[in-house]
Amino acid sequence: MSCEGQIMTQAPPAKPTPGLFKRNPPIAGEAEAIEAAKNGDAEAFSKLYTLHKRRVYTLCLRMLGNVSEAEDMTQEAFLHLFRKLGSFRGESAFSTWLHRLTVNLVLMQLRKKGLNLVSLEETINPSEEDAPKRDFGSRDPVLTGSVDRVALERAVASLPPGYRMVFVLHDVEGFEHNEIASMLDCSTGNSKSQLHKARLRLRELLRHPSESPLPEVTSEVTK
């Protein structure tokens, strides 16, 4: 991973992402608030915070799996937003732009932390022992076509950081594999493969819940 420097200067994508536009429709009054905040209107910036704090915080919480770190990162994301707002040109939905900015900050934070960086690398390129086990031919219980949302939250929070990152970015946040590959500085094939392994690991955790440790995030997520 050698894109730490790029993340600071990497502009959010100019090209709109259709999937994210669907999930991030424009919000009434947002455009006016953005323009006013660009001109230093503190009240308008406060409005932007109110409109987007939940989404940003939720994204940080899912990616970091820790309430305290997620709050710190939410704070950083909005401070960064304040400084960079002038460069938002409206070529993508504001929430998509803010989303990308937050993801980049979280990734940079994870790379700064030695321990997480190691585990991220390990799960981006896991050894055979780390990879989820093959289980064709097994007679373990299947998920019977439904998964409890809270159980999935818990399982996702207990995934290794690299698996969690790709799963959250693709399956929860709706990013495409090519976008994830660019963010994580890996190949598209690697992103697809990691997503698949993350889902396999989740399947194991959901079929054998006792093997899933209770992460800190759970109490917050299940509120």
């Binding site: 998964v147 697809k192 997503l195």
Partner: protein, 110 residues
């Protein structure tokens, strides 16, 4: 990464299927269970069909996690406000200092 274009669906074995699965999920709408080319194979291999069904269920349920879980605590906003005030004060000081330097330079020129 194994490409689905290489697959012979008539002779496909479960081990090969597993290798192709990430790509099969990434292509199309991710509904591997509905892929017409795989219907016979999945009918022959119920464990593979169960795996596909489970992974589709996980991916589908994950969409519901997009909804926000809650607000950050109030201290986040108060921290943001104080940081911005600090930055604003520093920036004003720096502006003032450069203005003063400019005035001193002008006086020197005069």
């Amino acid at each position: 990464m194994n490409q689905p274009g290489d697959i012979n669906f008539d002779t496909l074995k479960p081990e090969e299927f597993e290798r192709y699965l990430p790509e099969l999920f990434a292509n199309g709408d991710g509904k591997v269970s509905k892929d017409p080319r795989l219907q016979k194979f999945l009918a022959r291999h119920p464990d593979c069909a169960a795996l596909v069904s489970d992974l589709e269920t996980i991916a589908e349920t994950a969409k519901s996690l997009f909804a926000p879980v809650g607000d950050p605590s109030d201290k986040v906003w108060s921290n943001i406000q104080s940081k911005l005030r600090e930055e604003s004060a520093l920036s004003s000081e720096s502006d003032l200092s450069s203005e003063q330097n400019g005035e001193e330079q002008l006086r020197e020129i005069d």
